[in-house]
């Protein structure tokens, strides 16, 4: 209507430009409105021929929360530093160390959490592509869990994070499965908060033989029982899984017999930062069902009864060995949050399962099958890789 009084050429330019610009706006945050949907599958540019699978099939599996390639850089939400962004050079250097560690462990399947493909804080680095092109893994699927155009909090900016499953063998089907959201956040916060999801991949390990791999990253900071619901949901889904399966990742929960349940050495003695990222009390009993229903890579009897024994299998610490807490103590793994479980009827090769904690360690212990680590996982992420060789009849 206003164009009546405007020169026709000018009106046409304005209408055309406005229409062109208005038609392709990106949502400010991915609402992730799905229950279960196909996930993208990526392929290495040049395939590396995997070793032929024998009978029974043996697959070396690693589950690792890689902390978006940040290594031990102290990010703001951990409350031991203020960093909100890395330079490309920092990410390149950290990723190169991750490639070396993955190469040393040489998994057939890698389950990776907190992996980013397009985030400002990790210099927009595509870590799925990076791992594919710099290790012997050929295929990957990425289950996006946090995809927002801009997070106006501490300068986080664009973020695209999720769980990935990598495999030397072909991934024939991939899905992401939505988990319940927290209910203890206001609507706006919830819109921009990450949406937990499971990754599931079907892998053809040899002609006619498929297995399913599940990637888990449960809620960490809820005060409303969301993590409990998510872990129960995983158990319910796994009961319906028709293929031999392996599930792994960062459950953000302690094992049911954990000796220390609070007062970890990497917690601040006095509050310094936002309460949004304070650790709520753990509820280790909710993990019992996994030990009852599945085959744990590290069984509870091996886990031990004292904190000193259990320390050998701790997988998480906010502080690394080059940082100190309020008492001046150097950081080291101080709790177990990461796991590998396999379906009943399958097993773990003796001497193959372990937590890859630090340089010089022999995987599987003194009688383990190795290797002796030359890389140093405790400096590569705030989580340690859980490893094991899975045997499928």
């Amino acid at each position: 209507m206003p164009c009546i009084h405007v020169p026709h050429r000018w009106c046409a330019v304005v209408v055309a430009c406005t229409a062109a610009l208005a038609c392709a706006c990106e949502p400010i945050a991915d609402p992730q409105d799905y229950d279960r949907e196909p996930a993208p599958i990526f392929k290495r540019s040049t395939l590396v021929t995997p070793v032929a699978v024998s009978a029974p099939a043996r697959l070396k599996v690693v589950a690792w929360n890689i902390k978006y390639g940040a290594g031990r850089i102290p990010f703001w939400f951990d409350c031991w530093g203020d960093r909100s962004q890395m330079s490309r050079a920092e990410v390149d250097a950290n990723m190169a160390k991750l490639y070396a560690a993955i190469g040393e462990l040489d998994p057939d399947v890698l389950i990776a959490e907190e992996i980013e493909v397009n985030s400002r804080r990790s210099a927009y680095f595509d870590m799925v592509k990076g791992i594919l092109e710099n290790t012997n893994l050929n295929y990957a699927t990425f289950a996006s869990t946090w995809n927002s155009k801009y997070i106006a909090s501490e300068g986080v900016g664009r973020i695209h994070l999720g769980n990935a499953i990598f495999s030397k063998h072909k991934i024939t089907k991939a899905e992401r499965i939505r988990q319940v959201d927290r209910t203890d956040q206001d609507a706006l916060t919830s819109m921009f908060y990450l949406k937990r999801a499971l990754g599931r991949a079907e892998i053809e390990i040899k002609t006619g033989t498929k297995v399913a791999i599940w990637a888990v990253h449960s809620e960490a900071y809820d005060n409303d029982g969301t993590k409990k619901k998510q872990i129960e949901h995983i158990d319910e889904l796994l009961k319906k899984e028709p293929l031999p399966f392996m599930v792994g990742g960062d459950f953000n929960e302690l094992p049911p017999i954990a000796v220390r349940k609070h007062g970890f050495m990497d917690e601040r003695e006095k509050a310094v930062c936002s309460a949004d990222f304070a650790q709520p009390p753990y509820t280790p009993e909710i993990m019992q069902r996994f030990y009852d229903n599945y085959v744990a890579a590290i069984a509870l009897d091996r886990y031990g009864k004292s904190e000193l024994e259990q320390k050998r299998f701790f997988t998480h610490s906010v502080l690394g060995p080059d940082e100190v807490n309020d008492k001046g103590e150097k950081g080291f793994w101080n709790r177990t949050l990461d796991y590998l479980f396999a379906s009943k009827g399958t097993s773990w090769v003796i001497g193959s399962t372990d937590v890859a904690q630090q340089k010089g360690q022999k995987i599987g212990g003194d009688n383990g099958i190795g290797p002796v680590l030359t890389t140093d996982p405790v400096r590569l992420s705030d989580h340690a890789p859980v490893v094991g060789t899975w045997e499928v009849p």
Binding site: C25, Y150, S153, G155, S274
Partner: protein, 301 residues
């Protein structure tokens, strides 16, 4: 978190409403806005979001009351030629800003904890200062030029339409602290605040402001922007385009309502998934489009 989003949205609106300036005064027809013409001595104008404009002898001074404490910025427009019907009028613009406090203060005075880190750990323990990535002290000089040509003057009225060109360059010069990374925020925020994090921003805008009725004006504008990236950072394109369409309506003799929409074509590292010839997936990057409403209520005396 809600407060953060609301505050940042307000900043986005503020950043957008630089375009929504107006003159009402004692004219029979609503006067155009954002042109080379400066306010006459003694005239002033202010909006809810728009800056305070003061007409002085031979120049106009613009300051923003809302940002005066956290990010003081003074712009001065100096006419180079007289304002005559059917002739180009040229006006120079210079400005200077010191935005550092805005990055240091939390809401409601600043944006610490929203667009930049709050650095609570560094404030708690000086030994952690190295991990604080907020901008240091910097100054932001600005130079620009306006050119306007008026059309449709008649002896019977003071109504007319006007074509305006505006070229400007602003740059942030840091003299303490770490070099801040680019914000990579929503388009209006990023364009407006780029010099405030040490970037250089050049812009060229072409606007046509058409008198529709004595109380109503239509404005259309095309803009092009170049914003520098840090050395070695080629992650994003440095070029952005914008289109603005909006209406100004006189409410009373001294007030007007401005309402419009601003659309941007900008590289914000937007991804989409595509299929390869083998049926696998791959990520590719596309430019982003953003549309923002503009709204303000402006008083002119």
């Amino acid at each position: 978190m809600v407060a953060r989003i609301a505050w940042t949205t307000l900043i986005a609106l503020l950043a957008n409403t630089g375009i929504a300036r107006a003159d009402s005064f004692n004219y029979t027809h609503l006067q155009p806005r954002e042109t080379a013409k400066v306010l006459a001595p003694g005239e002033w104008q202010v909006g809810v979001f728009n800056p305070l404009r003061l007409g002085l002898d031979w120049l106009e001074v613009d300051v923003h009351p809302l940002l005066l404490l956290a990010a003081p910025q003074v712009d001065v427009k100096i006419p180079l030629t007289a304002s005559l019907p059917d002739a180009w009028q040229w006006t120079a613009q210079v400005g200077l800003g010191v935005p550092t406090l805005g990055w240091r203060l939390a809401k409601p005075f600043g944006l610490a904890g929203d667009l930049v880190p709050s650095c609570k750990v560094a404030e708690h323990a000086a030994a952690s200062a190295a991990s604080c990535q907020r901008p240091g002290w910097l100054i932001v000089p600005k130079v620009g030029v306006w050119a306007s040509r008026e059309f449709g003057h008649s002896a019977a009225s003071d109504g007319y339409s006007v074509l305006t060109l505006h070229a400007e360059i602003a740059s942030g010069f840091s003299f303490s602290g770490q070099a801040a990374p680019p914000l990579d925020a929503w388009a209006p925020v990023d364009i407006q605040l780029a010099p405030y994090v040490g970037r250089t921003r050049a812009q060229l805008r072409v606007a046509y402001d058409q008198l529709l009725m004595p109380w109503l004006r239509l404005r259309g504008e095309l803009g092009g922007y170049w914003i520098s990236r840090p050395v070695g950072d080629d992650a994003l394109s440095t070029l952005t385009a914008s289109v603005y369409v909006g209406l100004d309506a006189r409410i009373t003799a001294h007030t007007r309502l401005t309402l419009g929409a601003m659309a941007y074509d900008i590289d914000r590292h937007q991804q989409k998934t595509e299929k390869t010839s083998e049926g696998f997936d791959t990520y590719t990057y596309v430019r982003s489009r953003e549309v923002w409403p503009t709204l303000d209520f402006i008083w002119s005396y």
